[in-house]
């Protein structure tokens, strides 16, 4: 597939065939030269054929082959004439990341790390089929779907300031629980407050480096500070919402006369009843995910207090931010000089709103929205900030993580004969996990180099670096 260099960090897939707009991939020249993800590039071109797409079908430097839409993809559609697609959001609706800081420094917890990792592993349900510590009645589940993070805080899981420092304040108001299937509700009732499996994790880290002192201070981050980073989503409820919607839309799309290059791109016009129905269901799942991460943070707070024998005030585990990286949003953007309402799909991509944007919570409005970019479990994670360039170039979006480079099968093959746990502990990282093959499948070598991904979005001007975190203990599902 032809890739045309537009700038040192932006490449174009020129329009051809039934593409309505070109493709645009943000990456370094090194990444472009080593680009093996031809399937992902083809997926970018496929997305460009969908009705109502604006400017370009985009991909971030952590992109890889997904199903239908690529992972690391961003696509904005005109609200009046465009489509919405469950495949452009993904199965794990509002899969996202939450970061909290503490008052502690690494030296204070090093001697207790073994106890801490064991206690976290015990208190935070993880792994395949794990069920939560919160039992939901049918009535309460409806409230979770409508209210998201606020519901959890009202139940005593956290502080109002957590919700304040959450994307959309932890609630998409378009949620309508009446469109959620029995199957999705049944799965949701038993999994609230669970981490999940696969690439989901809870990581205790340390602020390793500060790149932008004033912004780091605004985010409440300082050097050597102990942090907690969570990666989880809407669990079975979200998967079921996506699956139900895809099954419906696969049939529905045939009535629209749209030729799809891939069945997984099934979609509906945003303004149609089918489109609105999916958007309302997706919003419910997004709210469930925010309530879930709110409970997980609460469990982490309890566990730290218990192991360290200190109170909440001394621990001061304050939320830095919580964001989603699998979502579709109704947003306002300037397209070709005209202000338009658009539906931005971010599948494995993060919102990156600039300083001054009204959607950025008040505490951070001067410096821009925090962006949380987890790397693999042996390397580093980054805290970045949104920029005006992102608003102009990528519908206010940036990357979401390192992105896989090895398939799970290939990772397991490479891990044969190695002790990943030992390799990590030699680097000072303790890890606890549930699934037999989780550690091999999720080993550091399975992911792209996070530093390269971050350098590429920085080079493209989509975000600026604020701080880097180094993992010291990791819980995996």
């Amino acid at each position: 597939m032809e890739l045309k260099r537009l700038t040192p960090y932006c490449y174009e897939i020129p329009r051809s065939g039934s593409m309505n707009v070109p493709g645009r991939v943000f990456m370094s020249s090194r990444m472009a030269n080593e680009m093996r993800e031809t399937e992902a590039l083809k997926q970018v071109a496929n997305v460009a054929t969908l009705p109502g797409i604006l400017t370009a079908a985009m991909a971030m430097p952590d992109m890889h082959w997904g199903y239908g839409f690529p992972i690391g993809g961003v696509a904005a559609f005109d609200w009046e004439t465009g489509i919405i697609s469950p495949g452009g959001v993904g199965y794990d609706i509002n899969c996202g990341v939450r970061l909290a800081g503490t008052s502690l420094e690494e030296k204070e917890i090093r001697p207790l790390l073994e106890r801490l990792v064991n206690a976290l592993f015990q208190n935070i349900p993880s792994g395949v089929g794990s069920t939560g510590s919160v039992k939901l009645s049918a009535k309460e589940e409806m409230k979770v779907l409508r209210e998201g993070g606020r519901w959890a805080v009202r139940q005593g899981f956290g502080e109002p300031s957590d919700v304040e420092r959450t994307e959309d304040h932890g609630c998409m108001t378009e949620a309508d629980p009446s469109v959620i299937s029995e199957r999705a509700l049944k799965r949701g009732a038993k999994q609230l407050g669970t981490l999940g499996s696969g690439n989901h994790f809870l990581e205790v880290g340390v602020v390793d480096e500060i790149f932008d002192e004033p912004t780091a201070r605004t985010f409440g981050l300082f050097r050597d500070q102990v942090t907690v980073l969570l990666h989880s989503g809407s669990r079975g409820l979200g998967y079921q919402v996506c699956d139900d919607s895809l099954a419906f839309m696969a049939k529905h799309v045939k009535t629209l006369g749209i030729q799809l290059p891939d069945r997984q791109l099934a979609c509906a016009m945003i303004r149609s009843a089918a489109g609105r129905r999916y958007f309302s269901a997706m919003a419910c799942a997004a709210n469930y995910a925010w309530a879930n991460r709110q409970i997980l943070l609460h469990r982490a707070r309890e566990t730290f207090q218990q192991v360290l024998g200190i109170g909440p005030r001394d621990l001061a585990m304050h939320q830095v931010y919580d964001l989603c990286h699998n979502i579709a949003k109704r947003e306002t953007h300037t397209v070709d000089g005209r202000v338009r309402t658009v539906c931005v799909h971010r599948k494995g991509a993060t919102r990156a709103f600039p300083p001054g944007h009204p959607a950025v919570c008040e505490a951070y409005r001067q410096v821009g929205q925090p962006i949380l970019i987890p790397g693999d479990m042996g390397t580093a994670s980054y805290v970045m900030a949104g920029t005006r360039t992102a608003m102009e170039q990528s519908f206010g979006s940036t990357c979401h993580g390192a992105g896989r480079v090895l398939s799970r099968r290939a990772a397991k093959k490479q891990a044969k004969g190695r002790t990943i746990q030992r390799e990590l502990s030699d680097k000072g990282i303790l890890v606890k996990w549930t699934g037999r093959s989780t550690l091999a499948e999720e080993m550091p070598d399975a992911y792209k180099d996070i530093h390269q991904v971050v350098d590429a979005v920085r080079g493209a001007g989509l975000s600026t670096r604020v701080a880097r975190l180094r993992p010291i203990c990791v819980i995996k599902g």
């Binding site: 199903y67 089929g129 998967y239 099934a266 480079v405 398939s407 099968r409 037999r436």
Partner: protein, 139 residues
């Protein structure tokens, strides 16, 4: 059972190739492959026989919908499928009798959290010998 399917490379998900002597056998083997990926059973204790039915526009759509129904037995009801008997099968409808085992941590080791059966690259076709299917599971 395990030799009726192989795992193929796919960066983010689980992609498998399943084979069967005929299309009925293919549907049965695809269902068993799904549960082989979900859990490892030490000891089978058959508990309950359930009838499962699905419809689809063509064999590929039917395969996805059939596996969706089977997957929900696990994700919704915590039942693991140990045996499948295809009762009726056409290009657009399937019904099967499946033997299930209730999940018990002491007997089952969980291997993968399969989020969904996807349409991505779905293919059900006649092969040189018998039938084969390519299926991508989201994990």
């Amino acid at each position: 059972m395990a030799n009726h399917y192989t795992q193929l490379d796919h960066t983010a998900d689980l992609r498998i190739r399943v084979t069967g002597s005929d299309i009925s056998d293919l549907f049965k083997n695809a269902g068993l492959a799904l549960f082989d990926l979900i859990a490892k059973s030490d000891r089978l204790e058959s508990h309950e026989v359930i009838e499962v039915a699905a419809t689809g526009d063509d064999p590929a759509d039917l395969m996805v919908n059939f596996l969706r129904e089977l997957l929900y037995l696990w994700t919704g009801d915590e039942k693991l499928v140990s045996m499948i008997h295809i009762m009726q099968l056409s290009n657009t409808a399937v019904s099967a009798r499946v033997t299930t085992d209730r999940y018990a941590p002491e007997r089952h080791e969980m291997l993968h959290e399969i989020k969904a059966v996807t349409y991505h690259q779905i293919d059900v076709r006649r092969a040189r010998k018998g039938w084969e299917a390519i299926i991508v599971f989201d994990v």
